[in-house]
Symmetry: C2
């Protein structure tokens, strides 16, 4: 008999709790696993020996379904990067102590790039001191920028929210008879996956988004203004999708000052809004989808949630098969009918690397997404969950605040 531990890390998504359910439900099936610990605030909970007993908190299948529908990380999160164990072993010793003391034979880390670095370093360290504790990474990020895997858990739900909301914004933007430009700022500092996914609307007969700017394509204010003018000659209401991370000449995001002398960040949307207002002079609005694009579980993708649970479960089977230092990944066997196979990759091949939008998805002008990219995005946003409602609002699974800290 052994115990296991699971933790969640990095920025929230709609699917991290589904992966937790996957680990939990698969572990319950296995008679060699006894306690299932949740680490509070990612790896910090292991370092500080702050673990909770998940079996005493997730009691029924209804609890698991509710948890699958609950956005963000029910166990909290962290942004913690392990040092190199050759130069500083202190924190590694704390981690090993907690895991040994609790008789934990396998640790599952649900997270993005940085978390896969933790998986890599921890598994290497355990090998170096010949400690038999398996470390397995379960990927997640709305940015979809992890290598090897076809896509990342959490991305499909974010893409579905962005597409649906972009369509609604398009309806909202076309009501008046005067010409207008609406700029929608979407998350993605280095990779334009989420912004590009908004082009799925083209498969539904929408002309919007009329312009799509991603960090992978070169951007200049001059060509942007030329693009907008050209689209305005064709459409009364021009809709622009833009990644927060596109590179602008002088670094707009370095801070503005409001009337009260308070400094604050100005996003790329506000910058482009200012450009259009100043240079074209038409009605213009910028909209930041902000954290809603990563936490709007009320419109999550069933495909994403189901896959996120499945990849968590596969992680448990992988550890029980004796593997360590692995990250679970999706391989797409086919677009039609959409078929996904879960495999493993070495954490060293994923940690700290980024995957960018392929050039072939971006049009020649660098201002929109080609139609043949849509078969990549469309399967990921399919299906809806039967939401559990409470007084007209989606209900969330709650672990009592006092247990978490």
């Amino acid at each position: 008999m052994m115990n296991i531990a699971v933790a969640q890390s990095g920025g929230p998504t709609c699917a991290i709790n589904a992966s937790l359910v996957g680990v939990f439900r698969e572990a319950l099936k296995n008679p060699t696993i006894d306690a299932i610990f949740g680490s509070v605030n990612g790896i910090e909970g292991i370092i500080g020996n702050h673990l909770v007993d998940l079996k005493s908190m997730i009691l029924t299948n209804d609890d698991m379904e509710l948890l699958r529908q609950t956005p963000s990380t029910v166990l909290g999160s962290c942004r913690y990067k392990l040092p190199d164990h050759h130069s500083d072993e202190t924190v590694y010793k704390k981690i090993a102590n907690t895991l040994k003391q609790r008789n934990i034979g396998a640790f599952f880390y649900i997270g993005g790039n940085d978390s896969m670095d933790t998986v890599n370093k921890l598994s290497e360290y355990f090998r170096s001191i010949e400690l038999d504790i398996k470390v397995i990474g379960i990927p997640k990020t709305i940015d979809n920028d992890l290598c090897i895997t076809d896509h990342t858990p959490g991305f499909g739900s974010a893409a579905k929210y962005v597409a649906a909301t972009m369509r609604e914004i398009t309806r909202d933007s076309t009501v008046y008879s005067i010409p207008s430009v609406t700029i929608v700022e979407i998350m993605g500092r280095h990779a334009g996956w989420l912004t590009a996914s908004s082009a799925v609307l083209h498969a539904m007969g929408e002309t919007a988004p009329h312009l799509v700017y991603v960090p992978e394509a070169e951007f200049s204010p001059e060509s942007f203004l030329r693009d907008v003018r050209q689209e305005m000659s064709k459409h009364k209401a021009v809709i622009v999708a833009v990644s927060e991370g596109i590179e602008v000449p002088e670094g707009v995001q370095s801070g503005c000052v409001d009337n009260f002398g308070h400094k604050y960040l100005s996003g790329i949307g506000k910058y482009l809004e200012g450009l259009v207002r100043g240079e074209i002079g038409c009605k213009v609005r910028s909209i930041e989808l902000n954290v809603m694009q990563r936490c709007s579980s009320h419109l999550c993708s069933k495909t994403d949630i189901d896959e996120s649970e499945a990849i968590g479960a596969a992680g448990v089977r992988c550890a029980l098969a004796g593997e360590t230092g692995k990250v679970m990944v999706f391989r797409r066997a086919a677009d039609v009918p959409y078929t996904i196979v879960i495999e493993t990759a070495d954490s060293a091949d994923i940690a700290n690397l980024e995957k960018f939008l392929p050039e072939k998805y971006i049009n020649a002008a660098g201002n929109n997404i080609r139609d043949h990219a849509l078969s990549y995005f469309l399967p990921l946003i399919q299906g809806e969950l039967n939401l559990v409602m409470e007084h007209g609002v989606p209900k969330h699974f709650a672990i009592h605040e006092s247990l978490l800290k």
Copy 2:
């Protein structure tokens, strides 16, 4: 036999098209009504004789259901205020000409405050020239600030989106172990109804929103900072709901300048974010719900959509009964079980007036909503539609752009 005309006006909501369906479906039932015209871009379409034949566009019950789920105004909108007909009759003559030429015996105007002013002025003018054309107002606004009516069509859907999103933002904001403040800016220039509605989360065991600021209560930066500090002593992640229209000392919203010298508006959320960052120095984020709160039909309130259709239908019956210059209103017969009766009010008693949040709904400190107000808000956000999906995204009813202009 007579024809009728219907138009939509003012800012978009999720429920304006449902009211259009109400007018349309009720008119179909009546053998004395022949053509049902839609006026493009509100009253502008009547002035410019730009009408479309709705019977040739809305063909099936499925079309009507899809239209009920489609946000914004399918016939376009306008912001047009009629002059006094005693001082300038020109535009009135154009309107009368169009209506007479098309044999229109009743005109239904779906809109907010300004549109009810149009209903009032038009019906008075027609009386003064003894022209027998009925003019009936169907209210709509997410602001919920119309007098006499218990609430306005469109408000419930906006409130449901705000509450659900605020709950998701709360999950998103509580993941890290460090203290934080999250400020959510909600629409409402003069009336705090929509911001106040976010307090429905308290009925679901949420402590958030911890602070609620509405234009009806006095605001000062000093008491705001004191409030935030006090809530931070109780909660790791403090969630603040604030109306865009709260009055701040020097008028923050008068424009900022970004690094490129472009002027743009800074909302109240950014202002409060700057205050917290400057004076408290903790992690802080502001989120503007922007147009999503008025167009997110994917999470509309079934109660709101059904009532919006019903009040449109009641408008047709009212005109057929010989009334004019009336606005349809809701009277709440009971909170439990929630019971609404549709009645009429004189347009003169509604036009250009605003209804504010009653003082009894606001707590003594002016920084939150009292629990007894929740029985007002909760019935309005109940129920969900069975959304028609298309490739994973809610489908919308589309009238071809070329028909609209």
